[in-house]
Amino acid sequence: MYQENILEHYENPQNFGEISNPTVSVEDSNPLCGDKLGVHILIDDKEIIKDIKFHGHGCAISMAAMSMLTEKLLGKNINYIKDLSKDDILEMLGIPISMTRIKCALLSLKISKLGFIEYHKDK
């Protein structure tokens, strides 16, 4: 599970930080693990994700997944998130995730979905 790319993302998370004027800002936690992540997304008129940054703390799996997902989402249409599935995340991670750790991997997906919902709520 702890392959090079996971550790790499954990030690040097991509898009880690905050955006001062995000279009949407959401966060969520896995209370049982004590993981808490949030994401800021900047979306332009054409609904393109211009910038995306995440903050918070989590285990290697949840942090790496979040880091990879922000890379994937940057430059995409916000509606891309709508069809994003659990399998997409697992494929993106490219490692076998045990049953007990699936929640860690999917925290990133949950937060992205929240961001998507939040974006459309304001309309």
Partner: protein, 408 residues
């Protein structure tokens, strides 16, 4: 104490959890493993005796009733209660504490009353009290000294007043390992006419407990942490108090006489055991007590002290590892929580698992305490009578593997 012989009683300890990796079970604070002596008693009961209790006149019902009642007697003696009337079987510690809460709310607690608990508690001894806010009942929390993880005892005196109706605390901490001076805390409660409830989930399985000596009014614990099956727990209560508080649940078996207008309650402890009980679980708990007594609680405590001391010494040598809880083994149980540099406890536990070492990570159902310690979660190893020094070594090897994986 012959550990080798003891280990043979626990078939699960022979298991391989991953190819070539034998189970090293260090998650005993969550739940313990079960010996053949308990498993067999339960299956024997279903093969031989099973019937409903306290109602039938036939042979099996008589046998089942006797076995279930006997278990109450055994468990009450185990914690030195005077009689089985003071021993109520529940599902677990959480239900025992909820029982006390509901029974006190119905007649003993009113708006303006106060309760004292502590930040060291498991959620099961926080939430049942904080929800009473809606009824105008306030809960105050005694803090810990974070350096050694012991309660700031003087705060009990400071917080208690004439409105305080209940003082409650955890006996053995499931995070810090701290064993609290319950006798002294109980005295403060009683000097101020408050009830005293103790959460004994982590003490009864591991040391000799004497409810008379500590003079508590209520004492809650779980069977599954002391070699018995899940779904059976217990609440000790002083007879005169149990006589005077309301039942918790209503229905069959807890009544003496029922008319359509009014019912009278059954004798203790059955007044508090509505409906068909977990009969096999109760009998299993009796068998677990027999087993623990055959080994000897003092020997079990000594064994755990030695293991914990050894574990703490070895863990102290690990670079970047932070330990919690008291160093003095007189006030410390076999629970060791730690954090390792910036490695998340979840990752620690996952990597340990690949070596067959079962430890717990997270907030251990004690979020306020973890927060008080300035952490988001910890990794916890917890020992029991069947654990060995070699298993502590496996724990250390597991930590070394974590460090290697994370290039520390």
């Amino acid at each position: 104490m012959n550990i080798e012989k003891i280990r043979k009683d626990f078939p699960i300890l022979e298991r391989e959890v991953h190819p070539g990796k034998k189970l090293v079970y260090l998650d005993n604070a969550a739940t313990s493993q079960k010996p053949n002596q308990v498993i067999d008693v339960i299956s024997e009961f279903y093969r031989n005796n099973n019937a409903n209790i306290h109602r039938g006149v036939h042979k099996l019902s008589e046998e089942s009733t006797e076995m279930y009642d006997d278990a109450h007697t055994k468990v009450s003696k185990f914690i030195n209660a005077d009689k089985m009337e003071e021993m109520i079987f529940t599902r677990n510690t959480s239900e025992s504490i909820n029982l006390v809460m509901h029974s006190l709310v119905d007649g003993k607690l009113k708006k303006g009353d106060e309760i004292i608990s502590t930040v060291m508690e498991h959620h099961s001894n926080i939430v049942p009290w904080t929800i009473l806010k809606d009824k105008g009942i306030k809960v105050n929390f005694v803090d810990i000294n974070e350096k050694d993880g012991i309660l700031k005892l003087e705060q009990f005196e400071e917080l208690i007043n004439k409105n305080t109706k209940l003082v409650t605390c955890i006996h053995g901490s499931n995070v810090l390992g701290t064993i609290n001076p319950v006798k002294e805390i109980g005295k403060i409660a009683h000097d101020n006419d408050a009830f005293f409830l103790v959460d004994g989930a982590q003490s009864v399985p591991h040391m000799k407990v004497d409810v008379k000596k500590m003079d508590c009014d209520f004492f809650a614990f779980s069977g599954h942490k002391m070699l018995a099956p899940t779904g059976i727990g217990a609440l000790y209560g002083k007879e005169e108090i149990l006589e005077n508080i309301s039942p918790f649940m209503y229905g069959g078996d807890m009544i003496k006489e029922v008319s359509l207008e009014k019912s009278s309650w059954n004798d203790l402890p059955w007044k508090f055991e509505a409906g068909t009980s977990n009969i096999s679980g109760g009998i299993g708990l009796g068998a677990a007590v027999d087993y623990l007594e055959s080994v000897g609680m003092d020997d079990i405590r000594d064994h755990e002290i030695k293991l914990t001391e050894y574990a703490l010494n070895r863990l102290e040598e690990v670079d970047g590892l932070k330990l919690f809880g008291p160093k003095d083994m007189k006030i410390r149980g076999g629970v060791v929580s730690f954090v390792l540099n910036k490695v998340h406890p979840h990752d620690v536990a996952s990597i340990m698992d690949t070596e067959g070492v079962a430890v717990r990570s997270g907030h251990h159902c004690a979020q306020p305490l973890i927060e008080r310690l300035g952490e988001n979660s910890t990794t916890r190893a917890s020992f029991y009578l069947y654990n060995t020094k070699e298993e502590v070594d496996k724990l250390i090897e597991g930590i070394e593997k974590v460090k290697k994986t994370f290039r520390l």
